[in-house]
C-alpha cells in the first residue's frame, strides 16, 4: 500500500507501523465518574467497520509522524491522510 503523507507525499506503507482505530485519540477523562467504563469502551470496543475506517499509522522508518489515514477496509482505497496531531487538536486534545 501507499500512504499519501501530508508532508512527504506517497510513501510505502511498509515504512509505517499500524496501531488501529483513530478513536484511540479520544482518551477519556480519568477523573470522570464512570472513568473505568469509559476507559474500557475506549480501549477495548471497536466499530471495526467494513468500509471507511479512520486509523492511526506511525511513520516509524520515516519522519516519526503519527497519521490519521481514512482507508476503506474492503478495497484498501485511501481517501484522506492527516497529521494525527492536527486531528487531536481539532478533537479538543491539548495538554
Amino acid at each position: 500500500m501507499m500512504i499519501d503523507h501530508p508532508l512527504l507525499g506517497l510513501r510505502d506503507a511498509q515504512e509505517f507501523t499500524y496501531l488501529g482505530d483513530a478513536s484511540l485519540i479520544d482518551r477519556p477523562d480519568w477523573q470522570a465518574e464512570d472513568a473505568q467504563d469509559a476507559f474500557h469502551d475506549y480501549l477495548y470496543l471497536r466499530d471495526n467497520p467494513a468500509g471507511a475506517h479512520r486509523e492511526l499509522w506511525f511513520h516509524e522508518t520515516g519522519d516519526r509522524s503519527w497519521l490519521v489515514v481514512t482507508r476503506n477496509t474492503l478495497t484498501h482505497e485511501i481517501t484522506k491522510v492527516e497529521l494525527a496531531r492536527d486531528v487531536a487538536r481539532a478533537r479538543g486534545r491539548s495538554k
Partner: protein
C-alpha cells in the same frame, strides 16, 4: 449411507451410481428451534453437536455463500493443545481429544494426523518460557517435551544449525499436535449434521435480527424471515459486521492472515515446525505441498488478500530456517479474515439480547478449536449455561480485568 472401504469397492463396481449428496439443499422453514448463522467449521460443528449430543430437533445453519468457505476453508490446518493459561487449557485439551475421535464420530476421514508440532527456541529466555508452557501443558493433561539442539537436529537435520543469525537452542515438542484436512472438517460436520436432520441452507445471507423487547425472535435473510427460538452467531471474520446489525460493538478487529502453499514435493517435513526467531511455521500436506504462514498484515481489513511485505517477511524467516527450500516454488497465497480479539482469546457467550448467542474472536487459532467450540456453543445454547471448559470466554472479561492474554500483548489485536 455409511462410508467405508467396502462401500467404495461396491460403488466402484457399480459405476459409482449410489453415492448420495453429502448434504441436502433444503428450502428454509419458517421457524427453527435454533438457527446458527455461519456455515463455517464452528457453525457446522455447533449444529452437529446440537443435533447429536443435545437432541435439539429443529436446527438450521444459514450460510451466506457456500459452506466451509470461511476460515475453515482457508487456514494452515494445524491442530494443537499447547496453551499456557488457565482459561484456555481445558478448552483446547478437550478440542484435541475430540479431534482424535472425530473421524469415527463423523464417519468421515478428515485426515487427522498427529505428527507433532515443534516450537523452536533460540534464546535462554525463550527456553524459560517454553519450560513454563511445557509444564503448564503437562499439568493440564497435554503432552510436551523439551528438546535441546541435538534433539531438534535428530528430528529435522536440514534446519539451519550452522549459519543461523539466531541459532536453534532447542524446542518444545507437542507430539499430539498435527494437521487435519481442513475442508473435510466442514464437509464431515455438514454431512453429520444433515444426516441428523439439520437444515444446511447455503446462499442465504442474514441481513438483520428481529429483536423485540430485548429478545431475539429470528433473522431476516436474503431468503426471507426465519424465526428462531435461539440464534447463535458463528461468523468469525465478519463478527463485527453481523453483530452490528444487533447493535453490539465487539472487542474485535478484522485482520487478514496470509497463508501459502508450495508446489507439490516428495516428503520433506513430517510434522509442523514453528520458527522462534521470525514469523514462519510450516507443515506438508498429504498432497505434498508445503503449507506455511507467518504474521498478519497488521492493518484492519475485510479484503481477503494481503500485500508483499508480509510475504517477504514470511519467506525471509522460512529460508533462514530451512535454506534447502530456496529452490522450491511458492504456488499460491491466500488471505483469510481473522476476528482478532483484544487479548488473543475467543468468546463463547450470551449477549445482552436474550436468545442471541455469540461465538467468535478466534484470531488465527480458530481451526484447531472447531470441535470444542462447536460442542461448547451447542452446550451454551441448549442449556443456557456455559460449558465448563469455556467459562472464561466471556464478552465482559475486559470490563472486569480477566484477560486471557497468551502472548502478553495487551489490547492491540494485531499483536496477538
Amino acid at each position: 449411507m455409511a462410508y467405508s472401504g467396502l462401500r467404495i469397492i461396491k460403488e466402484a463396481l457399480s459405476g459409482h451410481r449410489g453415492w448420495k449428496p453429502a448434504w441436502r439443499d433444503p428450502e428454509p422453514k419458517a421457524h427453527y428451534d435454533i438457527v446458527i448463522v455461519g456455515g463455517g467449521g464452528h457453525g457446522l460443528a455447533t449444529a452437529y453437536y446440537l443435533a447429536s449430543r443435545y437432541q435439539t430437533a429443529r436446527v438450521a445453519v444459514l450460510e451466506k455463500g457456500w459452506i466451509g468457505g470461511g476460515n475453515v476453508g482457508r487456514n494452515t490446518t494445524i491442530v494443537r493443545s499447547n496453551y499456557l493459561l488457565d482459561g484456555n487449557q481445558a478448552f483446547y485439551n478437550l478440542s484435541l481429544r475430540m479431534w482424535e475421535d472425530l473421524e469415527q464420530d463423523l464417519n468421515y476421514n478428515a485426515m487427522v494426523s498427529q505428527r507433532g508440532i515443534l516450537n523452536l527456541v533460540h534464546t535462554d529466555a525463550q527456553r524459560d518460557a517454553a519450560r513454563r508452557r511445557g509444564n503448564a501443558m503437562i499439568l493440564a493433561g497435554d503432552d510436551a517435551e523439551l528438546l535441546d539442539t541435538d534433539g531438534v537436529r535428530a528430528l529435522y537435520p536440514f534446519l539451519n544449525f550452522e549459519n543461523a543469525r539466531f541459532p536453534i537452542k532447542g524446542g518444545l515438542l507437542h507430539r499430539r499436535g498435527g494437521t487435519v484436512r481442513h475442508d473435510a472438517v466442514a464437509w464431515g460436520y455438514a454431512r453429520g449434521a444433515d444426516r441428523r436432520g439439520v437444515d444446511i441452507i447455503q446462499n442465504c445471507e442474514v441481513t438483520g435480527f428481529k429483536v423485540e423487547n430485548g429478545t431475539c425472535l429470528g433473522v431476516e435473510t436474503t431468503r426471507g424471515f426465519i424465526g428462531a427460538g435461539k440464534v447463535g452467531v458463528a461468523v468469525a471474520g465478519s463478527s463485527s459486521r453481523v453483530m452490528q446489525m444487533a447493535g453490539l460493538r465487539l472487542p474485535i478487529e478484522s485482520h487478514v492472515l496470509q497463508a501459502f502453499v508450495s508446489e507439490g514435493l516428495k516428503p520433506v517435513i513430517p510434522g509442523v515446525i514453528t520458527y522462534g526467531a521470525g514469523h514462519f511455521y510450516c507443515s506438508q500436506s498429504d498432497k505434498g505441498g508445503l503449507v506455511f504462514g507467518g504474521d498478519i498484515d497488521m492493518y484492519n481489513t475485510y479484503a481477503q488478500r494481503g500485500n508483499l511485505p508480509v510475504v517477504e517477511d514470511v519467506l525471509e524467516s522460512g529460508i533462514s530456517l530451512i535454506p534447502a527450500l530456496g529452490r522450491v516454488r511458492l504456488l499460491r497465497s491466500w488471505g483469510g479474515i481473522m476476528d482478532m480479539s483484544m487479548d488473543g482469546s475467543p468468546f463463547i457467550d450470551r449477549t445482552p439480547i436474550d436468545g442471541l448467542y455469540f461465538n467468535g474472536g478466534w484470531c488465527y487459532g480458530g481451526f484447531k478449536a472447531t470441535p470444542a467450540s462447536g460442542l461448547c456453543f451447542a452446550h451454551l445454547m441448549a442449556t443456557d449455561t456455559p460449558h465448563e471448559v469455556a467459562q472464561a470466554y466471556r464478552l465482559d472479561r475486559f470490563r472486569s480485568g480477566h484477560m486471557i492474554d497468551e502472548k502478553g500483548q495487551g489490547a492491540q489485536p494485531n499483536l496477538h
